[in-house]
Amino acid sequence: MTPGCAIVPLCVAVPLGGAFLIALLGRKVRRLPDALGFMATLAALLLSLSSVGVVRTSGIVVYAVGGWAPPIGIALVLDGLTAFVLVTVNVIAFLVAIFSIDYMERFTAKWQFYALFLLMLAGMNGVVVTGDMFNLYVFLEIAAVASYALVAFGTEKHELEAAFKYAVMGTLGSLLILLGIAMLYGATSTLNMADMGRELAAQTPDSLLLLISALFLVGFGLKAAAVPFHAWLPDAHPSAPAPISAMLSGVLIKSLGVYALARVFFNVIGMTPQVSSVLMFLGALSMVIGVFLAIGQWDLKRLLAYHSISQIGYVLLGIGLATPLGILGGLFHLFNHSVFKSLLFLNSGAVEYATGTRDLQKMGGLARRMPVTSATTLAASMSIAGIPPFNGFWSKLIIIVAAVEAGRFGYAFWAVLASLLTLASFMKVMKYAFFGVLNEDWGDVKEAPFFMKFAMCALAAICILGGLLLLPAAYEPFLNAATKVLAEGTRYATLVMSEVR
């Protein structure tokens, strides 16, 4: 076990330690929560970037916590998919933490915000890094409970109602996941994911496995807000403060929902044609229903929340295709969506910070007074609509080509239709909010403060340059490693067990 592998548990320990340090000292020292939040997320970002390098040189890394070798001990597994999602989560978390330095000045008790934020980050990193089923549940719950508290952070009427709805549906999803884990433990008598995969491959699939698959689909579907389990998202994401909306929409539904779903179904239970078609159907349903419900919205953040549902549909469609090209498209769209959706929510936060409203009909012509915000919103809108050469175009193209290649022309048609409607929807946003005649009420609004501008510009830069990730030099260690892990499916079990000495 080389010293470089110590980064695997540190990805979880650093944000966790930061959260409790802030809880201990943050009340008294004034700027300490901001500084600690910045340093903890920066450290997590550097650790996740170096994990890509570790995977490139050493292949799969299995870290046995406490020296106990799996399957007896808890194992933390670092493979291509883990490194990919880690980088996604930590990049967004770092930039959102910078954004919050200015945005959260309006709220009291900023130290509570940063403590909960770092706890949520530790939970998400834990979900991605773990190689043990029950450990997955524990970290899932840490991140989920922290996010319920963060949605209710402002304690206004709407925030509390949305937080309660979110908490009830999230807890129901977690209970279904726990029931599935209990049944899986009963069927295989082990909790280690690789060992479970090996045991399940040796048994013949029976109706118990069907029940377990259904429980996991519904449970993780509730976490990922796939239609028909999406009802909490349009209330929770708009009501949260803008940096939290960015985190929830950008990374939480992906690492808790889509990543866990993919890991469990591809590597542990094994992908079957039935599960694949269910995932594709849910994906297509989410794509279409999300975008139809989004077009009629006049509340900016609610519109963005419905578009989140639609874009998660793209990711589910890509992953559900279960062909290497489809998985590549799905995972690349996961990364791209994190970037442009967080950027869009941060932009809505900047607009709200300056004007105090989220209603599109009250805004108008803000581009003159807030050039940076409107330029970054334009970049993000072109990404989400899939206009070349922004990053959204490449991932949507790969998904559509994969659907056509697999012979699913119906799904490809729905994907193209949803993309056109997304374009229409964001043209509406740009027209009403930024272009056009400046509304007299906003005659003296100022541009967003420095840290908010920095975060938005950094994300916009990633949007513009994101297509470069498909170049061979960057593609191999990052996207291709992740795709290979899922495409190999149940070979994960043999790979992990062979790493254990």
């Binding site: 029950f134 549940y137 524990v138 719950e141 409970v145 319920y148 508290a149 209710a152 304690t155 206004e156 009427k157 709407h158 509390l160 109602e161 949305a162 937080a163 309660f164 908490a167 009830v168 807890t171 129901l172 209970l175 726990l178 029931l179 209990a182 433990y185 009963g186 909790l191 349009p234 209330d235 009501s239 919205q297 509340d299 609610r302």
Partner: protein
């Protein structure tokens, strides 16, 4: 086999309570019932007929092969604590909802629409 089915029936009762009741506090009670059902299910997977408690003693003690499985016991302990944290947070949110809306009835707490 019958005990597992009973646990699942209890879980379904908890889910019915979450879906059908109108008072926020009753919804929280429903979540607690469903959580208890899942924890019981988990503990039951550990049981073995004629098993003894998995505690080592000095000297000869109980043969390890006849002990019940201790792993689900540890997991259920963790799950109970997680359930406690979630319930505490939901009760705190419910109390503040009462302060803002003046009622616990979810039919009247419907400001977010569309």
């Amino acid at each position: 086999m019958a005990v597992y089915v009973l646990c699942l029936v209890l879980f379904c009762l908890g889910v019915y309570c979450i879906l059908a009741k109108r008072n926020i506090i009753k919804i929280i009670v429903g979540i607690t019932i469903a959580e208890c059902a899942v924890n019981m299910f988990f503990v039951l997977t550990a049981y073995k007929t004629g098993g003894r408690a998995p505690i080592l003693e000095p000297g000869a003690g109980i043969p390890v092969a006849s002990m019940v499985d201790p792993l689900p016991h540890a997991l259920v302990l963790t799950a109970i604590v997680i359930g406690l944290a979630t319930t505490a947070l939901m009760v705190a949110i419910a109390m503040r909802i009462y302060a803002k809306y003046g009622t616990y009835d979810i039919a009247e707490i419907r400001e977010l629409k569309g």
